[in-house]
C-alpha cells in the first residue's frame, strides 16, 4: 500500500539501491523519492557516489541490489533508451563528426522517428536554446557554452520525462557557468520536467535546487530544500560542507546557566535560550556549536551576551568583508557589510545569533 502510493506520486524512485565494484561498496542501501517536476541536486565532493547514482538512474551502470522506478515503472533492468531519460555530460560528449543538427537528431534517427517529426523537434529544441545559427556547424567550431547548449538540446529533442545532468557546467569558465546556470533554471521553469543534477559546486546546488541531497561515501546525509540545508544542517558534515567560508565550529559542553541551558567552551559561556532545539538539551553533554560567519554580529547586539575579540585578518571581497577574528583561543570568520572596514588588531564585540545557530552532539555528530 504505502510503497505503491509513493511510487505513483514520484517521478523517480530509488529503493534500497546498492552498488559494489568488487569489494568496494559505492552506494549503500540508498532510498530516494524525487517528485514530479522537481529539480533535485546531488551534491558532494568527488568520490561520494553522486555520479555513480546518476549513472544507475540512467541505466549506464547496473545496480548490485535494489530497484529504480521512473514514472511508476520498474526500470531496474531496462536499457538507457527505454527509461525516458535524457542526459547531459560534463565533457558535452557531442559526436565530433556530426553537425549540430545531426547531433541533436541522432537519437531520433536511431529510433527511426519520421523525418518530419525529427525536423519539428530539432527546430523546437534549437529555438528554446537559441542555437539555430549553429545547426550546420561541427562541435569543434563551437565554444564551450555553445557545446553544452547543444548537449542540453540533445536531451531536449528526445522528449523525456527526466533530465539527468552530470556536472554540466564544470568545464566552463566562471562567467559562462553563471550564465548557463540561469538558463538551466529558466529551462526547468518553462519545461517543468523532473531534473536530477549532479555537482560538487554548492553555489549551483543552492541556486538551482528544489531539494538538495548531500552525499558522502555512498550515503545521503541530508535531503532537504536549500534553506533548510543551509540553516538547519542535520549533521556536522553537512554543516561544514555547505557555506563558504564554512561554518565556525566551537567544541565544548552544555552547562546550566540560571534557569536555562548554555554552551561553554574554554570557560566562555554562550546562552542557548534562543536556540531552536530538536530535543531537550541536557547539561554535561559534549557538543559542537556551529555558527555561520554571517550570523555573528560585530559591535551590534542581537540578544544574548557579548564577547571580546581581536581582528586578525581582513579580507575585503567587494560586497562583503570577511574578518578573521581571535576569540577565546579560537579563530573565527565573520562576514560583515563590505562598507565596514576594520584595522588589524582592533578590539571588537561579537554577538551570536543563536536563533540560526546549530548544536551537534560531539559523538554522533547529529543536530540536537
Amino acid at each position: 500500500m504505502n510503497v505503491n502510493s509513493s511510487v505513483s506520486n514520484s517521478s523517480v524512485s530509488i529503493k534500497d539501491l546498492s552498488l559494489n565494484f568488487g569489494a568496494v561498496s559505492v552506494l549503500k542501501d540508498l532510498n530516494l523519492d524525487i517528485n514530479d517536476g522537481e529539480f533535485l541536486v546531488l551534491l558532494g565532493s568527488s568520490g561520494c557516489g553522486k555520479s555513480t547514482l546518476l549513472n544507475c538512474i540512467a541505466g549506464l551502470l547496473d545496480a548490485s541490489e535494489g530497484q529504480i522506478f521512473i514514472k511508476g515503472k520498474n526500470v531496474t533492468w531496462e536499457e538507457p533508451k527505454d527509461r525516458g531519460i535524457g542526459m547531459v555530460f560534463q565533457s558535452y560528449a557531442l559526436y565530433p563528426q556530426m553537425t549540430v543538427e545531426k547531433n541533436l537528431s541522432f537519437g531520433l534517427r536511431v529510433a527511426k522517428v519520421p523525418q518530419a517529426e525529427i525536423d519539428k523537434r530539432v527546430a523546437r529544441a534549437s529555438e528554446i536554446l537559441q542555437i539555430q545559427p549553429l545547426l550546420k556547424r561541427k562541435p569543434a567550431e563551437l565554444s564551450g557554452g555553445q557545446r553544452q547548449r547543444v548537449a542540453i538540446g540533445r536531451a531536449l529533442v528526445r522528449d523525456v520525462d527526466v533530465f539527468l545532468f552530470d556536472e554540466p557546467l564544470s568545464n566552463l569558465d566562471a562567467k559562462l557557468r553563471s550564465e548557463l546556470r540561469v538558463e538551466i533554471k529558466r529551462l526547468h521553469q518553462s519545461l517543468k520536467n523532473t531534473m536530477i543534477y549532479v555537482t560538487h559546486d554548492q553555489i549551483e546546488a543552492l541556486t538551482l535546487a528544489d531539494r538538495i541531497a548531500i552525499m558522502k561515501s555512498g550515503i545521503i546525509q541530508q535531503l532537504d530544500d536549500p534553506t533548510t540545508i543551509y540553516n538547519r544542517p542535520r549533521n556536522l558534515f553537512v554543516a561544514g560542507f555547505i557555506g563558504s567560508p564554512s561554518m565556525n565550529f566551537l567544541r565544548g559542553e552544555l552547562v546550566k546557566s540560571g534557569d536555562g541551558i548554555a554552551f561553554s567552551a574554554n570557560g566562555v559561556i554562550f546562552s542557548l535560550a534562543a536556540y531552536d532545539a530538536n530535543e531537550v538539551l541536557q547539561p554535561g553533554r559534549k557538543v559542537v556549536l556551529g555558527v555561520r560567519p554571517e550570523h555573528i554580529k560585530v559591535n551590534e547586539n542581537v540578544g544574548g551576551e557579548e564577547h571580546d575579540a581581536t581582528v586578525d585578518i581582513e579580507e575585503p571581497m567587494g560586497a562583503d568583508n570577511l574578518l578573521w577574528l581571535k576569540h577565546a583561543g579560537h579563530t573565527m570568520s565573520v562576514r560583515v557589510n563590505g562598507a565596514r572596514r576594520f584595522n588589524v588588531g582592533a578590539k571588537v564585540k561579537l554577538s551570536f545569533d543563536m536563533t540560526v545557530a546549530s548544536v551537534f552532539d560531539a559523538e554522533s555528530e547529529l543536530r540536537l
Binding site: 549506464l60 538507457p80 533508451k81 559526436y95 565530433p96 541522432f106 537519437g107 536511431v110
Partner: protein
C-alpha cells in the same frame, strides 16, 4: 587649452623619436648556421641517412647494369650503359623450379594473400578492440590477458599444430589456409592496438550514444568508426608490411605454385644452377620491397598521427 594641446604634441613627438626599447639584446636571439650544435646534429643525421641509403643505391645501380659490367667488380660506380633487361627478366622470365614466368606469379599470389588477410584481420580486431574497450563483459579481462600472451608466443611453436589443423580441414597448401593463418596471427597485436585506441576516446561519448538508444553495432559504425581513421591506417600499414614481408608462413603453408613473392624471391636469388645474375636478383629484390615502400610513402603522415593519437586526447 591651446597650451595643453601643444604640450601633448610635443610629448608625442619626443615619444616617436626616442627608442622605446632600451639598449641591449631584444627580440629573437640570433643563431649562427654553423654552430657546433648544428654540425653535430646534421652530421649525425647525414651519416645515418647515408648508412641506410647506400645499400639501396648499390642495388638500384647494379640492377641497371649488364652482367659484363658487373663482373668488373666496382659496385659503387654508376652504370655505363643503362639497361632494363634485368627488371623485365626478374618480373616476367626468371625461373623458379618448373615455372619460368618470373616474380609476377609471386606478386599476384602475395596480393591475393595480403588483401583478404588485411581486411579480415582488421575487421575482426577492430570489433574485438571496441568490445574490450567499451563493453566490459564477464571474463573480458581474462580474455584480454590471454590475447596479450598470444602476442608473445613465438610463431615457430605453433607451426606444426596449425599444419595439422589445416590438413584436417582440407585447406593445407591453399591461399585460403594462409589467409586464415595470417588473420589469426595478426589478432593479438591488432586487438591490443584497437582496444587502446578506443579506450583513449572519451567514455562519455559512448554513454551519450547509449542514452540516445544506439546499440553495439550502431555505436561502432556511426560513432566510433568515423573517429578512428588514424588507427585504421596504422593497423593497415602494420598488416600490409607484415604480411607482404612474411616468409616463414608463406614457405610452410603454401605450395610452389601459390608461393608468395618473398618465397619466390628467395628461390630466384638462391637458385644454384647456372650463373648468378646479380642484376636480376637486385631488380627482383627491389620489386618485392616496393609494395611496403609505397605504402609507407603514401600513408606515412597518417601513420605518425595514428601512433601519437593514443597519447593526446582528441
Amino acid at each position: 587649452m591651446a597650451d595643453v594641446g601643444t604640450l601633448n604634441t610635443t610629448v608625442a613627438g619626443i615619444d616617436a623619436v626616442a627608442p622605446r626599447l632600451g639598449e641591449g639584446p631584444s627580440g629573437a636571439k640570433p643563431r649562427p648556421a654553423l654552430s657546433s650544435r648544428n654540425i653535430m646534429l646534421y652530421g649525425t643525421l647525414t651519416i645515418a641517412a647515408l648508412y641506410y641509403l647506400l645499400p639501396l643505391y648499390v642495388m638500384v645501380v647494379t640492377s641497371l647494369k649488364g652482367m659484363p659490367e658487373i663482373r668488373l667488380g666496382n659496385i659503387f660506380s654508376p652504370p655505363m650503359e643503362i639497361t632494363f633487361e634485368p627488371w623485365v627478366k626478374a618480373w616476367a622470365e626468371a625461373c623458379t623450379g618448373l615455372n619460368c614466368d618470373g616474380l609476377s606469379r609471386g606478386f599476384w599470389n602475395s596480393v591475393r594473400i595480403t588483401v583478404p588477410s588485411v581486411i579480415i584481420s582488421i575487421a575482426i580486431a577492430s570489433v574485438n578492440g571496441y568490445a574490450l574497450a567499451n563493453w566490459r563483459f564477464k571474463g573480458s579481462e581474462l580474455f584480454f590477458s590471454i590475447l596479450i600472451i598470444g602476442a608473445f608466443i613465438p610463431y615457430q611453436v605453433m607451426i606444426y599444430p596449425i599444419v595439422i589443423i589445416l590438413r584436417e580441414i582440407g585447406i593445407y597448401g591453399t591461399l585460403t589456409g594462409l589467409v586464415i593463418v595470417h588473420s589469426i596471427f595478426g589478432m593479438p597485436i591488432l586487438t591490443l592496438l584497437f582496444r587502446n585506441y578506443f579506450v583513449s576516446l572519451p567514455e562519455e561519448l559512448f554513454k551519450a550514444a547509449r542514452v540516445d538508444g544506439a546499440g553495439f553495432w550502431q555505436i561502432f559504425l556511426k560513432i566510433m568508426l568515423p573517429m578512428s581513421l588514424p588507427i585504421f591506417v596504422v593497423a593497415m600499414i602494420l598488416q600490409v608490411t607484415g604480411i607482404w614481408n612474411d616468409f616463414l608462413f608463406g614457405v610452410v603453408f603454401t605450395r610452389p605454385d601459390t608461393y608468395p613473392m618473398t618465397v619466390q624471391l628467395n628461390n630466384i636469388v638462391n637458385s644454384v644452377q647456372g650463373v648468378k645474375e646479380y642484376n636480376v636478383n637486385m631488380a627482383a629484390t627491389i620489386l618485392t620491397g616496393l609494395v611496403p615502400l609505397i605504402v609507407y610513402f603514401v600513408s606515412g603522415r597518417l601513420f605518425v598521427r595514428g601512433i601519437a593519437a593514443g597519447a593526446v586526447k582528441g
